[in-house]
Subunit: 351 residues, 4 copies
C-alpha cells in the first residue's frame, strides 16, 4: 500500500509498505479524511522524537473499518469511525491508574507515527478497536470528526488540568487550533473573564466566537503587563498554555493568583529546563500548581466530545480554514501546516 512518510529527519515522501496485519483485538481502517498537525512538522523537521525511517506520518483522521480481529465486538467492516491520536493499552496498570496515555511508559500511549505507522496510509492499524475507536455520529461532517482526533481532546485536556470552576478568570496562552479549543472548553467549563493571547486575525476572530472576552496581543507589549493591567494587578485563577515555549511558564506564573492552576498542553520541543520564578511562585509556598499532560485518548473521551459537538456546545469544524480533495493532497496540506500562512488555522484532506 501507499503511504506518506517521514523518510528521515527533514525528509518526506511517498513510500510503499505492506498493509498492516490485524491482531485479535485490532482493526484495519482506510482513511476518509486526514489532517496534518504541527506535531508532524516537529517530528519531521525538528526531529523532535528522534530519527525515524520510512515511518508513515499522521495521527488525525476519520476512517472506515475494513477488517477487525476475532475479539472485536462493537465494530465491523464498513463502519465509519472516529480515531483518536492516542490509542492506549487499556488493561495496563497506567490506564488502571487513570493515565492511559502513559500506558507502557511516559507518553507511550501515543503510537501513530511514533512507534508504528500513522494514519497517512491507504490503510492504518488501530490497536484495541473496541477501546479506541468510536462510531462516527450520524450527520457529523468530516472536518468536525477529524478535529476529534487531537485538537479537541488536547485543548480540553488543558482545560481539565487547569480545573476551571464557575466564575474563574482564565487566560489561554496561544490560540492555534489547540488553544482555540481550549478557549471553547474554558467557556463551557464556567470561565467568566476569558483572556486569549494571540495575534493572527483569523485565530482572534474564532477565539471570540468560541468565548474569549478579551484578546491580548503580544505585539502590543509584554503579555504579563497587559494581563495584570486588565485584572487590576490580581492575575487570573487559571491558565492554559497552548503555545509559546519554555519561557512561557515564567510568564504564566507571574499572571497567576495564589491558589491558581496552570495546565500545559504545549509540546516543549527544545531547551533543557522550564524555569519557575522563585519569588512569584511564592518562594515555594504560593499554591500555584503546574501540570502538563498529553491528551488521554481512547473511545470514551471521543464519544463525550462528539456528544458536545452534537449538542452544539462546541464547534471544532470552524477550525478548518482550508480543504483539499484526494489522498495525494496530504503532502500539500502538510507543507501548508509547516509554512503556516497568516490565514491558516487547520487544513483538511478529504479522500
Amino acid at each position: 500500500m501507499k503511504g506518506f512518510a517521514m523518510l528521515g529527519i527533514g525528509s518526506i515522501g511517498w513510500i510503499e509498505k505492506e498493509r498492516p496485519a490485524c491482531g485479535p483485538l485490532d482493526a484495519i481502517c482506510k482513511p476518509l479524511a486526514l489532517a496534518p498537525c504541527t506535531s508532524d512538522v516537529h517530528t519531521v523537521w525538528a526531529g523532535a522524537i528522534g530519527d525515524r525511517h520510512d515511518m508513515i506520518l499522521g495521527h488525525e483522521g476519520v476512517g472506515e473499518v475494513v477488517e477487525v480481529g476475532s475479539l472485536v465486538k462493537d465494530f465491523k467492516p464498513g463502519d465509519k469511525v472516529l480515531v483518536p491520536a492516542i490509542t492506549p493499552d487499556w488493561n495496563s496498570v497506567e490506564a488502571q491508574d487513570g493515565f492511559a496515555q502513559h500506558s507502557g511508559g511516559m507518553l507511550a500511549g501515543w503510537k501513530f507515527s511514533n512507534f508504528k505507522d500513522g494514519v497517512f496510509g491507504e490503510f492504518f492499524h488501530v490497536n484495541d478497536a473496541d477501546g479506541n475507536l468510536a462510531h462516527l455520529p450520524e450527520g457529523m461532517d468530516l472536518g468536525t470528526a477529524a478535529m476529534l482526533s487531537d485538537m479537541v481532546p488536547t485543548g480540553m485536556m488543558g482545560v481539565e488540568m487547569a480545573d476551571i470552576r464557575f466564575g474563574d478568570t482564565v487566560c489561554v496562552i496561544g490560540i492555534g487550533p489547540v488553544g482555540l479549543m481550549a478557549v471553547a472548553g474554558a467557556a463551557i467549563r464556567g470561565a467568566s473573564d476569558l483572556y486569549a493571547v494571540g495575534s493572527r486575525p483569523d485565530c482572534v476572530r474564532v477565539a471570540k466566537e468560541f468565548g474569549a472576552t478579551e484578546i491580548i496581543n503580544y505585539k502590543n507589549g509584554d503579555i504579563v503587563d497587559q494581563l495584570l493591567e486588565l485584572t487590576k494587578g490580581k492575575g487570573v485563577d487559571r491558565i492554559v498554555i497552548a503555545g509559546g515555549d519554555n519561557d512561557t511558564f515564567a510568564q504564566a506564573v507571574k499572571m497567576l493568583k495564589p491558589g491558581g492552576k496552570i495546565g500545559n498542553v504545549n509540546y516543549l520541543g527544545e531547551g533543557d529546563y522550564i524555569k519557575i520564578p522563585r519569588v512569584e511562585w511564592g518562594v515555594g509556598m504560593g499554591h500555584k500548581q503546574i501540570i502538563g499532560g498529553l491528551m488521554l485518548g481512547g473511545r470514551l473521551r471521543m464519544e463525550q466530545y462528539a456528544a458536545l459537538c452534537k449538542a452544539k456546545r462546541i464547534f471544532p469544524g470552524k477550525l478548518i480554514t482550508h480543504t483539499f480533495n484526494g489522498f495525494d493532497k496530504v503532502e500539500e496540506a502538510l507543507l501548508m501546516m509547516k509554512d503556516k500562512s497568516p490565514d491558516l488555522i487547520k487544513p483538511l484532506v478529504i479522500l
Copy 2:
C-alpha cells in the same frame, strides 16, 4: 421601621419594628429591589421551619448600604450591594471545613427570615459585611442582581454537587427558577445532552434558551420511562433535582447510570423518608452517589456568579416575568409566588 412579615403560620402582614443595630463587623442596608421566593411561601403557609412571630420575610434582594460597623473595610454608606440569601460565619470551624452554609449547625448559615428578620424591611441587617456582601457591578440591572441572592447560587450548587464533566448527559428535574439556573449551569459546565423535566410553557421556553436539548413533560407519561427511552435504556450521567418531592429520588436513581451522581437542591418540606430503591441502587454497590445541599452563601460566590453574568455566560434576568414598583408591592408579589400563575417564573419588586 416598616416590614412585611410572617405574623404566624398562615398569616402575613405589615408590621413596625426597631431598625436593626449594627455591630462592628456588620452593615445595615436598605433594599433597592426585592424578590419573594417559594421558600417564603413554605415558611409562612406550610410552617416549614416552624412557627415564627412577626418575623420579617425575604432573603432575595439588592441593597444600598446605610451604615457599617467599625471593622468593616470594603463597604461604606451609599455602596450598592449584592446580598446573598445565606450569610455564614466565616471563622466557624464549619466554614473552615468548606461548609460555611452549616456554620453553627446544619443549615444555620441561613439567617434571613429564619433566625433574624429578612430583607423585606425598610432596613435589613447583614452580618460580616466584608465576608457576605459584594459590590453591585457597574451596569448590572436590578433583576439580574436580585437573582444572585438565591436562584443562581442554588441552581449552581446543584450543578456543582452533581459534578458535571465534559460531555456528561444530564437531567434537571424541575424547571422553576432554580431548576432553570441549574440548566444554565449544566450547559456551561460541559453537559452534552441536557434533559429538562417540566411542563409550563414559559419555563420550557427559557430552559431551551438556557441550553436544554430535550424537554421531558411528566404529562406525557412516566418521566423515568421517557428518559430511558430517550437514552436507549442507558440513563444519564448526572442529575440535578430542583423540584418534585421525596419520591423524586427514587425516579432519579432509576434514571442514573452506575457511577453517576445526583445533586439535590430541592427543599424537602414534608414526609419522613426519602426512599432509595435497593435494586436500581445496585443492591448498595452501584456507585450512584446522592447528595443534597444548601447554597454556600457569602461574598466570593456572588462575585463569581456576577462575573458569569458580566461575561454573558448566564442570563438570570430572563427569569423575571413580572416587575412591580414600590415597597408596598412586596405583598402582591409574594401572593403571586404563592398562587403561581401559569406564566410566572419570578416576580421582582423595585423600590
Copy 3:
C-alpha cells in the same frame, strides 16, 4: 474437572465440569488457597442474585497459572498469582470512566460465580490476565494473599468512598472481615477517633489492633445514641457501612455531621427501599453524601494493597481464624461461614 458448586437455590455439592477454555487474553489457574465469603452464602441460601444451576462457587483465592493465551505478556505457567474477586473488561467505556467494576453493566465486572464458574474448581478461568492478575509477592503468606481478593479491596473501597481526611472522626458500622479491613484502612487514611460498631469478642480484639479507638456494642443500647453521646452530640465526619441492613442508613445519617460522607460496601440482600430520614438529612440540604459501591477489581489495586501489606501498614492475615488443608475442605469452610461460630472471622483452605 471437579468443582464445588451451587446446584440450585439452597443446594450445594461437588460436580464434574469441563476444564475452562483459555482465550487469547486469558489465563487458566489452579487454586493454591481458597476462602469462602458471606457473599457465597447469600448466593446459595438467599438466592440473592437469582437462581444458578451447577455454578461453581467462590471468588476469593490464590492461584498458580497453568495456561495463558497468546496475547498475555506478563504471566506464564507456573507463576503464583493474586486473583481479584472482580475481573473487569478494561477497555470498556465504563472502565475508561473510572468504574471498571460496572464494565458491561451495573456490577457486571463481578464474574466469578455470577456469570461464570468461580474459583472453587480444580481450575478456574481469568479473563484479561495481564489486567486482572498480579504476581504473588515473594514471602507473602497464602492467608494474606487470599484476603487481597475481596476482603481488603472491599474494605478499602468503603474508606475511599467515605473520603477520609486527616483528623476526621470516623465510624465503621459492622466489623466482620470487610469492616475490619475498613477499620484498618481508616486508620492509615488519617482518621482520628475511630468508632467501630460490633459485638463479637474476636472481631472487637482485631478492630482495636487495626486502629479502632472505641467500640460501640449494639447490645448496650441504640448505636445512634451511643455515638452521639461519645461525640458530645456532634456526630462523626465519615461513616463506612460494612454490615447491618437497609435500616442502617437511617442510623448512619443521624450519626453524621453536615458535610459528612457515607461509604457503603454492604451488599443489601433484601427489602425494597433504603430510607433516608428527611429531617436529619437536612431537609435535602445538609450535604450528607451517600454512596455505595462494589470494589474496583483488577491488577493495579491488588498490587497497591499487596504493597501496603509488604510495608506493614495493614495485616489482613490476622483475619484468618480457621485454616483447613485440602480442596475437599472447601465445603466445611463454606458451611462454617454460613453458620458463623462466635470465634470465626474468616476461614482459609490451603490446597
Copy 4:
C-alpha cells in the same frame, strides 16, 4: 513588656515594647511554651523576608489567654490554647476560596514576626481568636502542643498537596522536623514504600519510627540514582519536598512517575528560578504535577491534628530533642536552631 526580637538583619536581642492592644475579635495571650524555627533563622540572618526592625520573633508556641475582645465567643482569660503559625482572615475572599493562608495577598496569612510581633514576647496578639485558636486538649504535653503550630501542619500540607493514595510509593526529601512530620503523615495517609532522604542519625531513627521503610543518604551517592535503583527504574508515585534548595525540584521530577505529584513545603530562600527538566517532565506532557504551599493555619486544622495526636496516630513530641526552662532561654534555643548540632531535631522552651 519584654520580647526577643530581630533588631535588624543579622542582629537579635531583648527589647521592651508596649503590650499589644486587643480588638473586638482578638485575644492577647502569654506563652506557656515556645519553639524557635528555621524560618526565624532565615528571617534574621538571611534577611529572607527583608529587613525588620525591633520585630519580636517566633511563630511556634502554646499560650494562655489573658484577654479577649467583646465578640470572642469560645475563649476566655485563663484558657490554655494551641496557636497556629498562620492566622488567616477567615472572611476574606481568599479564605472563602480555600486558600486562607493567602488571605490579603500571597502568604499574607502569615502574620507573626512578618507583619506583626511574633510569639517570643511576654504577651502576644492573636487576630480572630475564635477562628485561629484551639483549646489545648486535656493531657497533651507542651512539646506536642508546640509542634502543632507549624511542624505538624506544614509537614501535613506537603502530604496533602502530594495527594497520597492507598499503596502509593512515596519519597520525602529532607527529614528535619517538617520532613519527619511529612513521613508520619505519608504513613497514615496510605503510603506503601516510603523513602526518606536524609543523613543525620537522630533524624533517621525518628523517620523509621514514623514509618519510613527505606533511608536514602545523599552521602552514599546521587539520590536520584539511589531511588531509581531501589524502585527498579520506575520512580515513585508521590514526592514531598521538605528540604534542599531550588535544584531539588529537578531531582524530584526525575524520581517521579508519569501521573505523579510533587508537594513542596520547603521555603526557597534564594536564587531566581526553580528549574524543571524538560525531557524528564515529559516534554511538557508527562502529567507530573508540581505544587508548593504554605500551611493553611487556623483553628480547625489544629484541632484535627491534635485529634490525630490524641488518637495516637502521630507523635510529634518525639521531635523535641532539647528542652529549656525559662523565657530567657529563647535566645539560646534560637542559636541552637541556627547552629544545628548533629543531635538536634527541635528545641523547646518551657515558661
